[in-house]
């Protein structure tokens, strides 16, 4: 350490070093001497998607402190970009330092207190997850279930609101487990008429399908960084409107989780016009990646981003149907970003998925929750929503099914693929 030591000191240090070495009962693992291995894969599952090279480059920039002016500036840029992507003017638009699940928990625990009634619209796995979380927070949880592969109609939602009289309705715009897209127009007005707040999960849908937080009168929403945005996972954009903020202000009890507390995190993000306060040490690295990803999305613009995803989804559906596969989600309810394909009788989905990965380094996923074992899931998100990648994943899917089940009968018309 550059300290000049006299001989007696050196002897003493050597003695202490031996003593200290004996104190260590757990050895350093040999495995960490091997280099880090990260293969380059084509991520055509329901997320994460491949990040743009600009995003990856940004993430190798030096670490900054959590209250440095440059960090606060990047946070402000992200807030502005997310207001555009959510289509909202909400002051309380910021990010949680957590995965998308953090968004789900933060909306629920900020807006619910013990005994509050919450209604969960169930279109797949995420409804189950939200119900689990809300019940842990002490809410009285009710569920309104859509038919398998379908979304809820406005009439079904109205009836459930009138039956259960919830203070909060939770919906998932794009359920990545079923590939079902929930319509949102008109739901906000229904909620206001029933003195209910509307929370919407846009993790898998934002950027791939229209979303208008303010116009649709949505009170709280969140998205995933690693889906259409193609940013690294681990940071979650979230937004609360004035009705949600007022509900928070009327709470009788503190929000149970310090880490999710809207006012504490929001003050760190400078959302409420008060001085920025320290709440937690944010990951500057994830901020760099997210800012870059949002900048790329803003450069492209929402209309182009959405058309691109919708066009690619159409190309994928057509390709799959032409090969003879059946889609899981009803046509009118199909989510552009995640396509669910029924596993044909006699086909082992896991072998197909493994073949695609092993042979082509292409990710094609299986089902999740209610669709486990029943569907394949192909994601088209961000950088991966191009006609070239649609064609690539169709080809890999076809080859993998053929490899696993050589006698599988494809429709003749598509034998050229």
């Amino acid at each position: 350490m550059g300290l000049i030591k006299t001989s007696p000191q050196r002897r003493k240090t050597a003695y202490h070093s031996r003593l200290r070495a004996m104190e260590y009962r757990v050895s350093a693992p040999e495995v960490l001497r091997e280099p880090l291995v990260v293969p380059e894969k084509l991520l055509m599952g329901p997320g994460p998607s491949n990040a743009h090279p600009r995003v990856l480059e940004a993430m190798s920039r030096p670490i900054l402190g959590h209250l440095h002016p440059e960090t606060l500036k990047i946070m402000d840029d992200i807030k502005a970009g997310m207001r555009y992507l959510f289509q909202t003017n909400n002051a309380a638009t910021f990010c949680l330092s957590a995965s998308g699940h953090g968004g789900m928990e933060a909306t629920l625990c900020n807006l619910l207190e013990d005994g509050d009634v919450v209604l969960i619209g169930h279109t797949g796995h995420w409804g189950d997850r939200a119900a689990d979380m809300a019940s842990r927070y002490g809410a009285d949880v009710h569920m309104v279930r859509a038919t398998s592969g379908s979304s809820l109609t406005l009439a079904e939602i109205r009836k459930a609101l009138e039956t259960h009289r919830p203070s909060v309705l939770f919906l998932t715009q794009g359920d990545s487990s079923t590939g079902v897209q929930q319509g949102l127009e008109g739901v906000g007005a229904l909620c206001r008429a029933n003195d209910c707040l509307l929370i919407v999960d846009t993790v898998a849908s934002l950027g791939g399908t229209p979303f208008h937080m303010d116009r649709w009168e949505i009170d709280a929403c969140y998205t995933g960084s690693q889906k259409v945005l193609g940013a690294p996972p681990g940071i979650t954009p979230i937004s609360f409107n004035h009705r949600a903020v007022e509900r928070y202000q009327r709470r009788q009890t503190k929000v149970k989780v310090y880490y999710w507390d809207m006012f504490l995190v929001g003050d760190y993000w400078g959302c409420f016009g008060r001085p920025r306060i320290y709440h937690h040490t944010i990951s500057s690295t994830l901020l760099y990646g997210l800012r870059e990803a949002i900048a790329i999305a803003c450069e492209e613009s929402i209309p182009s981003l959405i058309s691109r995803h919708q066009d690619c989804a159409k190309r994928l559906y057509d390709g799959l149907l032409a090969m003879g596969f059946e889609l899981y989600a009803q046509e009118r309810d199909r989510l552009a970003t995640v396509t669910t394909i029924r596993v044909p009788t006699g086909v082992d989905w896991l072998q197909v998925s493994q073949h695609a990965m092993k042979t082509f380094l292409v990710e094609i996923s299986g089902g999740l929750g209610p669709t486990a074992g029943q569907v394949f899931r192909i994601g088209l998100m961000g950088q991966n929503a191009t006609s070239e990648r649609v064609d690539r994943v169709l080809q890999v899917f076809r080859e993998s099914v053929k490899a696993v089940k050589p006698d599988f009968v494809f429709r003749k018309s598509t034998s050229k693929m």
Copy 2:
């Protein structure tokens, strides 16, 4: 998107594009057209510290899926490395996808239920924070306070345990707000004798001072990634021993926070011998950085890592005292990683800190919580714990104090610095 469109379709698309464009009430912010700016700074505050170039390089690797075998392998490597750094054989050693606060909340909410008595050892800001969190989870919170600038004695801890009969004792090994190090030897045995679990926060201390989870009979602990390890912030190593796991298993109620639930996250990390299950989408990027940082620490070995930090701290204390400054923490309780310096009368700490940053791009921090306005804080962590950087920060500190208060009287003996 490469789709060939007939003229009527193109016209229709153009019409819809115009319509869609009109629907967007919030515009894309101009500020995102400017490039991302990340200056290179010397981070000599209480964390984050500067990351090693190998860590930064790792973070620009491609994104992997959260259940890919390569990702699971990296997670296993991290578990092995953290068992070495915590000096534990605990199966339940894993990471949370959150900042260090997540560790605090996860230990408390996994081990506490409504009405449980918790005793918080208060040596600074982190005791207040833990008390806030525990009370939100419904615990009956008691505090035992150390004298300012000191740690708690074993006698004080014994007396508080016997008075309050807590089921959980929470201590901070290195309180970064006061620069105080809490002694831990003997506390575990006291806790066992009183049927109490011992949680220790090692966020600011691990790697800079000895820590022996198993030998010291600590039941739960966590650390920060961005301190001595010099990994990116946003991912938090945590460990629970068999007593903590048994306490979890005897719970009458579910852990309130899904995201912190030991068994759900632990199963994702493969800690309990059950199949790996999906819990959340982990940030592969943060895993790359953390694995690399842990590998670097293992290569150096714990004894060397600790001597380096202790030697540098000694050099810093000597330099500061020689200049005439007074240290805040008592000599026997000084934390090697964060040094607290009393702000001399008539010196504006904020101006000094701002001068250091503006003129030298060197971070020197002010106080936090109970020490706000009273101290400067200088951190020596990971890559920054070298004699060269100690000398650099001493020089910058001296120059900044002189610039802000030209008539400040430095001790003569150090005028050469």
